[in-house]
Amino acid sequence: MRGAIAGRWWLIGITAALVAAWLLPGLVGRYYTQMLALAGIYAIVAQGLNLLAGYAGQTSLGHAGFYAIGAYCGALLATKLGFGFWSALPFSMLLAGVAGVLIAVPSFRLEGPYLAMVTIAFGIIVASILVEWSDVTGGTQGVLNIPRPEIFGTRLPLERQFVLIILILALTTLLMRNLMRSPWGRAFMAVRENPIATEAVGLSTRRVKTIACTLSAALAGLGGHLFAFFQGFISPEAFEFEASIFFLTIVILGGAGTLAGPIVAAPVMVFLPELLQRFIDYRLIIYGTLIVAFLYALPLGIVGSLFRHWGRRPAYAPIGAAAEVATAQPAPSVRANTSGPVLELEGVRMSFGGVRALNGVGFAVEPGTIHALIGPNGAGKTVLLNVIGGYYRPTEGRIRLRRRDITGISPHAVARLGIARTFQTAQLFGEMTVLENVLIGFPGQTVGRLLDSALVTPRLRREEAERVAAARQLLDFVGFRGDLDARANSLPFGHQRLVEIARALAMNPILIAMDEPAAGLNRIAVLLVEHHMDLVMGISNRVTVLDYGEKIAEGAPAEVQANPLVIEAYLGAEDIDVPIAAPISA
């Protein structure tokens, strides 16, 4: 029942927005209607930018480029090829989306200022092309006489265009809301919060970033298209670098990563210059000062600060969380065991520059065993796990998972094939909730399922409910007793570790590679890096000892403990007289 009612709130919201949009022009007059319509268009573009910069954390300083592509595509199709508003619309969004892919691909490996540079360069290139390619774009003159949008053959008057813009804004907001409460939204935020962990749960950061950039660009294209048909003319000035800053300011002022942020901030940014109209000469000076003041006073943006004030997180409960599903979920299942080792390493070497971190390591992990990997500090244990996990490509050697060669494949592919990983310091998605952190681990929820996320299909609702139930069970299974809606970065370290293990289990792995977890698990093969000897010796079936990048011993715990080489590696040569009372934990 709750789901059914909650599912209707958006309908009420959209209806209210439309009624308001229908009545408002009569109250505020033509001029302000025009301003509000512009604000609506900017909010749509900012909503798209918010998806990329706010949720997925990839700041773009070139969104005016996508906006321009949508505007010019729509305008040119209409004026040169006789398209209408509606028939040109898909092309404007598509072309901007394609540009989004083209920008995402060269940016895969870029971070921070380097990423910002590509987006700036893109924006400037587009703006320059608009001027340069004057045969098509009309150069500095731009495109004139763009027909107004029509519905059933009637040109819409300004008041009704305004309603149309608000309708589209409401729909994009709904789309964003759906996305952010579903698996794809989790994926976007995951990339922002922790790219390493994103790969570790089997999500390709490249794919997620590309989708985010494409959707974001398509929304900017939609905004541009609306702008062209609403204005009736366009020229290059509207699409320069300043416009990109303007859109980013709306996002940040409203609150990056908040749903309502762009809708609140766009009108502020449109009306602020109007208020300053009588200080025409000082306008931009006051404008700049106000931006700095806003940033200073509202570090999380208008909406973000309000949320903080009310003690709420500006995110949305996962769809499944509201559903009260009592279906008994099977406990974490283990993939069918086949005979032979789960994981085999053969002559793995890893050099960093001149430093040899691993020098021909080879061993095998048998199914259903706990295999400990020990060794003094700097022996290469974590490096070995990183090589297995695909984070480092080994200089030499082979790694096989269930006889399949996985050497050198990317971390998310390794994860998807069934190796889950926990890290020396727990790698969680800090600003996401405990529940979301585990939910993201379940396989098969994103790839090829974007429409499910965007539309919140019944299938998605059902699956999300199942995932939520399973996630609760897993958290219970690992002994997590805290608040499931707490932000992961607010948890004490011990709890973070539990959540990380629950997430690894959610992936339904063949093997869990744990870096110093100080906590044991059975039933799945476990490859464990650990310093706590009592733990290692107590729970492990098999122990491999590394020193200076080489395997110096392997065997059952008792054998290894008695091995003189191991004793020497840990305690140094015999003649050094150090009294040892307890097991070494370096």
């Binding site: 540079m117 893109f122 670098f241 306008r283 700095v292 940033l295 200073y296 570090p299």
Partner: protein, 288 residues
Amino acid sequence: MFQLVLSGLALGCVYSLVALGYHLTFITSRTLNFAQGSAMMLGAVITLILVVDFNWPTLPATLVSILLLGVFGLALERFAVRPFVRRGSMAWVMSTLAVGIIVENVAQLIFGKSPRGLPNELAQDPVMVGGAGIYPLELLIPVVVLAIAVAARLFYGSTMLGRALRATAFDREASLAVGINVDWMIGLSYAASSMLAAVGGVLIGPLIGVSSHMGFLIGLKAFAVAIVGGLEHPLGILIAALAYGVVENLIGGHFGSSAKEIFGFGLVILVLFLRPAGLFGRTRLRRI
């Protein structure tokens, strides 16, 4: 052709001065001063006002202008960067951009919209070098940049302050632990970056004219070369800046100015695609 190369080199030198400013603030504080272009413009505008309106000789006017820009840099860091960095926020991107907008419009208010010439004896009569007519100033520019580079080298290597700056760049925590005033070092890097920009503005002003919006595109291009060279590699930045200046001038000379931006920034995207940390930067292996 040869002329385009020579004047491209001069232009590239100016880019490198502004770009090294991005480098300086980045290494000390991981922030970038997006008001660099405006600082460059401000340097040129102040010099012009002192020289033309107050009849000062060029050299003292230049020095005063550079000093004022140092103060500007300190203030910018204190009020538009530090408060945000303290919170771990990225809002310094927007705030330095906003300061750029403010500065540009204040300059426009005082200075007017139309560009004015900054008179300089060295930019009046071209001299012939290898068959190309070139202003002596364009030959002086590389000399000035070289002198600054050598001075910076000495300053970093053999003064306490230089070492403290380098220490801050290398490891902020450790610098705090040995008693270096890290905030002051970051402030100084902002001052130095604005002063470098001002030198660039004074050098290029006589060649391209001084206006309130002269800094915008140069500031962006300087950012581009700083990125392409590798933000942490001053030598890489210098090389990238010179190359950009020359290539851009050659393309501009043959295909016009819009084509220049399209090719120039297109090249930037291509380089970053191939070398994600810039031409001379190395992608660091992430520690997990």
